[in-house]
Amino acid sequence: MDYLALFISAVDPFLIAPYRWLGQPLAAWYLGTFILCIWATILTEITLAGAFYLNRKRLREVTTQTYEFHERSMNAKVAGDEKSFKAINRLANDAFGKTFFLQMAMGMASLWPAFLGAAWLQERFGEVVFFKLPGWLGGHELGFVAPYAVLYIVCRIIFTRLRTRIPGFKQLIERAGRT
């Protein structure tokens, strides 16, 4: 069973609706895609907040350990003990590895709405050409990914600045410790 195709056909009526609000095709596409980006952003923020909240204890543990080793390595450096600095720095690396990869897994995993959005756009608008680069730049034609990526990043930036003013989101972020 092709679950991806099932998922895409299930969300299709909901996602395509905003694309039909305007008469002008290009304007309608940008409006619909911007709204898609808003949905992806909201789901991303909820996923991230949930991740940070559920893992807050573990994050605190590994981050504290990383900072502790880092401080001690710098103390050794300041005292002129190069051998101890390198040894403790290595411990700091190990501790950092756990912090980094845990945060990385949570962070990148929260991008799932953006990628599934791209999968839906591929099905709907995969063959549409938006821009064509001039000949001296290879004459390449730009598809949906370029404007989608731009709109998504803009949406994330706007949302980051406004999220504490959105009812419910402020509390969600505070509880997750992401202020």
């Binding site: 893992n55 897994a105 063959e127 370029a146």
Partner: protein
Amino acid sequence: MRRNVWLITVLTLLLGLTGLVWAQAEKASDFASAGAPAKIKEAIEKSLADQGQAAKTKEVIKTDAEPGFLGLKGAPKQNLIVGLLWAVWVGWIFSTVGAFGGIMAGVGHITIFGLADYAKSFGKGHPLNTTITDSIRVSNQWLVGLSGIISSFNYYRMGRLVYPLGICLAIGGIGGSWLIPELTAGKISLSRYIGYFGIIVFIIGLFLIYELTPKGAAKKKAAKAAAAAFEKAVKDKADTAGQGVKVVEGSQIFMWIGVILAVASALWINLVSGSQWVAYILIIAALVLTIMIGQIKFTFFGVEFKFKAWIPMVGGFVIAAVASFLGVGGGFLYVPFLTSVAGLPMFLVAGTSALAVLVGMIASIFSYMVGKGVVISWGLIGAELVGIFIGSMIGPRTSKYIPDKVLKIIFIILAFYVGLRYTTKGFLGYSIVPPY
């Protein structure tokens, strides 16, 4: 604020240009669905022009079957449940052990989803074999490279980026990241790819084993003793004004010109058809300028650090080349390289290497997807990200029940198993460990 806008604009333009590959509309082929990416259709057309390859194409692709991976008829369909479960495993690894998650993600793309065996069925040198191999490589890169995007902005906000170090890494990284796709995209068969993948996994396994030897364990014990000795803060540290990064020495002009030339080389090789020698001249000029920067000195925590500019440049080049070739290995290699070879503190290296991973990822993905037209399955990566998220929630809850040493032993066994299987399958044509 203005710098943020610049950075975001540049990144957005580069990311956005990955859309080039999907825009070309071509007529449908008998062997792929109408919606299949143009690159797949091109590979099919190319194979049909050669008698031997055409026979293989007709043998492997079932024209009356449903489209599967990348729109190829009869290709494995992405079993999202299996993909999700494997991704949960990957997320669990990321959040417990840390490194090795990228390797597991690569194993998923190669083996779990059946893509490798399908690519191999076309035979060595077949355009579809190399196209699917390249798709696997880039899919690996997307998953691992996304870490760079998330962490870079955080570290930048925290002031933990040493920009001269980042620039030297980036110059080398950009060079390594486009040279590899330029030299290898469309030329590496699946067998060779998994062979090299297996070798890298072996090397990682050897590093893990060293840590468990008496010598490795003794080193760690001595380091912990040293850490305990330096627990108390230095008396004057609290009011040290120079706790942030301050660059004291290093030619800024050469640095900035070098990175501009490096970026120009990547853009040229991927966008301009013809006169490719210009890109090679540009990157060589960037590398030479980096050597001419000489020594870079900066202070942090009131302490002076210095490094020769060519060291991170060479390291960035090699690491980015390996990461670009295999799709794994960038993230965890930068930090030990910079702390051991350049002698820099982890605090600064962490943030700066996240930026290097990001720059390398953008350059490499841009080169593969724009320059070479490699395609990936967005839905598959989306489903994998869901699984990684779930795994990263489970990991912290199980880590307290599994000692670090036990985790390391598990991964050493896995590393040797994966390394043995892929190396032998890749270079000998058969695996010496089951499943054969």
